[in-house]
């Protein structure tokens, strides 16, 4: 299960596909209902960002093993316009999506690890990890 599976994001329907695949892998790793729901929400957010702002990209999943813990690693990769001001995008209460509590800070809260690389004009790569407790 060290194998990486990806879902291409082009239309809104793909968000559901990404959620489904992510949830299946999370279930197999052994995540409980709450964590499954949280992971699905994080995937929604990542995939929707690709769908809305990059138009095209993919979300990849990988079951990972640390020395003494297991986890799910998710990568959201696009070659869209990139994020000009990462610190602003990471600030609470200023999501472009207009919703409360979501956006990238929401994804960071839902997961245990969060890493972002973005270059304006080149694209964005977000990697997040959730560890099994």
């Amino acid at each position: 299960m060290d194998f990486q599976s990806c879902v291409n994001i082009k239309k809104e329907w793909d968000i559901v596909g990404a959620r489904q695949l992510g949830r299946d892998i999370a279930k197999k790793i052994g995540f409980g209902t709450v964590d499954q729901a949280r992971i699905a929400t994080a995937i929604s957010e990542l995939a929707r960002n690709i769908y809305l702002y990059a138009g095209n990209g993919k979300v990849c999943f990988e079951a990972i093993d640390d020395l003494n813990r297991r986890g799910l690693s998710i990568a959201a990769i696009d070659s869209g316009p990139g994020i000009e001001e990462i610190s602003m995008a990471m600030e609470d209460g200023y999501t472009t999506s207009g919703g409360l509590g979501a956006g990238l800070p929401g994804v960071k809260r839902l997961m245990d690890e969060f890493d972002i690389i973005s270059e304006p004009g080149k694209g964005t790569e977000i990697r997040v990890v959730k560890w099994l407790r």
């Binding site: 209902t33 699905a40 509590g101």
Partner: protein, 336 residues
Amino acid sequence: MSTLKLDLQDYKDLLKEYIRTKDEQALYQAEQFSKHSMQHNISPEEIINTHIQSMQDLFPDLPDDIQSAMDFLLETMVSYGLAYQEHRALRERQLELKSELSVAANMQKTLLKTYKPVTEGLEIGALSVPAKQMNGDYHHFVHDNEGSLGIAIADVIGKGVPAALCMSMIKYSMDSFPERQMVPSTVLENLNRVVERNVDPSMFVTMFYGLYNKEEHMFYYSSAGHEPGFYYDHSENTYHEIDASGLVLGVAPETEYKQYEKKIDEGDMVILLTDGVTECRQGDRFIEREEVLDIIKKYAHLEAQQIVEQVYKHFEKLQDFQLRDDFTLIILRRNV
């Protein structure tokens, strides 16, 4: 982690108790449980999850559909959980900002401190309350050596920190004027130049400057577009508006200000204010200037300082304890 497990047991027990008795005691404890959970940063979706687990324990034969329905509910709660977590973070930042602004507000207080002169035969009441932490209203008393009392009252258009920064400039400038130049029209003309030169064109300041001569009992004044005050004529028991025209500070570099004068008789009052007093809002309704007068009249038998405090209390309550604008009210009364 262990607290969380303990809480599941608590929840299950309370739930079981409620199902059995359906009494208020269990519901009260449910409320206490959720408050306690919130103190331990438990998200609402975790409460749902605890509920689901308790139900599975209490009803081992729970139909599949009921189970699925609860899973669905859990899913809808995750976004609320995020809002809840964001709330905690915002709350902390808000407290930080708050304490930061309170330090700044204290600096400002020290900077703008003015001593209400104690003068025989003259009663003075003054109160200035910022709507937010920083005050964009300004008032200042200047005692000159020839028995005159200068009174400045000003309002920066805008509130909060930017207004406070602008206010500090007014203060630095006032301090730098030589004392013998405290003639109302001259004061405003000088300040107008400073504001016009140094402040962003989008920022204006309204100001009223009055000079009370205690020997002649004359009140000289000029206004730079400031909210008109009131004059109380004791012999006739009537209130009048203090009319004075003049351009707000900071618009045109060489503005001239007309100077007015008024004889003050025994028992007369001069009432100066900012628009935070006259433009109080009650719900969506702006109060009328008349209503301000009504309230002042109601407390006019008190000492000047008590009047301003009672008027403030009245409008604070009327506005549900949330000022929309900085509130400054000054009352002078000639007693002897």
